[in-house]
Symmetry: C2
């Protein structure tokens, strides 16, 4: 029975949990894979940090880069994070030195996944990253293996637990974005600097990885629409409720001909929609393919337990030798596809703004819409302090028209304030 | 590039769809697996049946059992169905003759899965059956590979699309069981003889397979509680609505110490519960494990598209060589566990019955409960024709007490008629 020697680089919450669970479930994994595993080395930036787990001294390695060259090591588990610095170096160096790599690093994979997977194929090693998307949910394995017989044309979901928690809290407790963010920090669901969650970047990295796997294309990691949730107000949550809608930060990708319509932005979705009741830090991913139809995958999107489960599933896949293609295709067959020009996107739009409660303003406002060929479906006006809070729902219209409207409204700060738009997602129209 | 030769036995709806999709998606599968596949032979009971797909004459084999001995064939795809007859023969013979087998046959696997997997390991071939549970949902692969690092202690779900469609229709359209069943037959969701769906047997076979995979135990395919939905009336659906509950046919399995609490029966579940909004023919499976927590998998539970997706994913797994253990463990390490004595099961119970609307009956009824130490939490009485329709919700109590009550009530047909019990599922108490 072959033994696989493993090195874990990075011993934060996740790294420690992987270390712990590899030890606790050693026998189970051995029974299930038919192979032995052995943690040969660990490495971390701060050797003296207090950790609740005792790690034998002989396991520690001061210089993580030396692990990439250690001939005894079969699998490097990179849990440092970030798309540069030590994480990048150790992953590249390990593959160059013919070591398998498991990582939870979405930034690194979104940025260098194409290069890394080509390199891995050349060196005949595996590069796996199940934990980079959807926490513990085995979404990457499911798409690559379970849905292998399908042409996938649409994938979308709630890929960021922090923002979903914030939006759920705003709705449930009727609190502001700021208060909900504070709550998320208190519970450990948001980092001290939550920018990449809040701004949608985390979701964008994840959907770029999923698109590449689903559509067999090179990773499209820039020049697509990425909007976060920091402009969403409690007013929007309340208007949504009135309209039988919910606000969710969605990451969406569709294959349309030879281009990919990939984007991250808040959406208003019908309360009856598949994933509208996914609350808190839960993630959910919806995959549409032929011939399978729709499948949905839900679970905790982050946290040490789920993440370590995903990391160890990758380690096991390498041991069993069952997951040769990082993105489900030989990297040499991955096509370069284009990003869909989002100006041509069509949907209904929700636009909310504050206007001065004076004669003729409403007429000025509706004129802006008429001038830009956008017809209005609903209009709700409510007083707010000495102003009016106005919500407009448009009929189906193009993004480029809405952009013009936004420009018009924002150039008239005298009358129109705090303009926010949210796209309404209507799956009937997909 | 190695070519795998495949034979498909059984060309009903599913078999034809597998044939079709293997041809349509040949290139995709080749790109994704790195191997070629070739349908070498097909076989079906009725050679003359009109089929919409043209199959070259040289592919047809009259005697399916000869395929099990055909040296050129690598993988036998059994889509005949049933736990005896030709399906059983072809699967056993194929494995004995060192051929990999893919099947969608839940009855066969539930009955002979242990023997077959031991045989497959001995002969160094794979026996895979993703399509046997949850239609296209890659639930078996997800548990075996994605959740490989976990100790799973609980799995449950809606595993039968036919009954879920019937219950959904009863609720949505306020129609009787009979009318909903007729609707299901009309739409092709129920077979001419739907007994195994309606009686819960189909769900029972599926949960017995899932238990074995989740808990690493031998298949427990008898002596556990299996109840169907044929006694559920529109009255129950309506009472459930009033109580903010839904009725679902659930298959549930938990590991409790060294025994398995496995069962299939209708449940009343809170409308807020994870899978209460799974309607129509959709299946959903919930898996709880450590360290991952809860993950949920949803998709169409039957039909030719999803089923063929699952069958082809198994064929691909065999080509890639990544799925050696049918049940996720070496069959020699599978333990024999016991079935939990369901008399000791505890939950709240819903009991509905018709009583004569005469003096003293209610007192007689409540005395039966008191005598058997079951305390009543709610009681609703409504007139129905010249009788009274009574619903009682108990506090937590044991199954054995409820059995006594049932016996008491059924022995007094004079006063108590059409007694039905439904277990209330309360996950808080798990």
């Amino acid at each position: 029975m072959k033994t696989f020697n493993i090195a874990i680089v990075g011993l934060g919450n996740i790294g420690l949990e992987v270390y712990k669970n590899l030890n606790i479930n050693k026998n189970i994994i051995q029974k299930r894979t038919g192979f032995k595993l052995n943690i040969l080395k660990v490495s971390a930036k701060n050797l003296k940090k207090k950790r609740n787990i005792k790690i034998p001294k002989n396991l520690w390695e001061k210089n993580p880069l030396s692990l990439a060259k250690n001939k005894k090591i079969d699998i490097i588990v990179e849990l440092v994070g970030g798309s540069s610095g030590i994480a990048k170096k150790i992953v590249f160096q390990s593959i160059i030195n013919k070591k398998h790599v498991v990582t939870a690093n979405k930034s690194l994979i979104s940025k260098y996944g194409d290069r890394l997977s080509v390199l891995a194929e050349k060196k005949s090693v595996n590069l796996l990253f199940e934990a980079a998307v959807g926490g513990g949910i085995p979404i990457i394995k499911s798409i690559k293996q379970g849905l292998i017989a399908n042409k996938i044309f649409h994938v979308y979901g709630i890929l960021n637990g922090t923002t979903n928690f914030i939006l759920s809290q705003m709705e449930e407790k009727e609190i502001s974005f700021r208060a909900a963010l504070a709550e998320a920090k208190k519970k450990g669901y948001a980092e001290a600097n939550p920018a990449s969650d809040i701004n949608g970047i985390d979701s964008a990295e994840k959907i770029s990885i999923l698109s590449s796997i689903c559509f067999g294309c090179k990773i499209l990691n820039k020049n697509f629409l990425v909007e976060g949730i920091k402009n969403i107000g409690l007013d929007d949550i309340n208007f949504a409720k009135e309209l039988d809608l919910k606000i969710k930060l969605l990451a969406i990708s569709e294959k349309i001909g030879n281009s990919i319509k990939q984007r991250v932005h808040p959406c208003l979705i019908p309360v009856k929609m598949d994933i509208s009741n996914i609350n808190g830090v839960t993630n959910a991913i919806v995959v549409d393919g032929k011939p399978i139809g729709r499948t949905i995958y839900e679970g905790e999107g982050a946290g040490k337990g789920p993440t370590s489960s995903a990391v160890i599933s990758d380690i096991s896949s390498i041991m069993v030798g069952n997951d040769d293609f990082s993105f489900g295709h030989s990297p040499t067959t991955k096509k370069k596809l284009n990003i869909f020009n989002f100006n041509n996107h069509e949907c209904k739009y929700y636009i909310r703004l504050l206007v001065k409660d004076k004669k003729g303003v409403l007429s000025k406002l509706t004129t802006v819409f008429a001038k830009n060929n956008v017809s209005i479906r609903n209009l709700i006006q409510k007083p707010k302090h000495n102003l009016s809070n106005i919500v407009i729902i448009t009929h189906f219209t193009k993004e480029k028209n809405i952009k013009k409207i936004l420009k018009n409204l924002n150039s008239n700060k005298e009358n129109f304030k705090d303009v926010i738009i949210i796209r309404i997602r209507d799956e009937q129209k997909l």
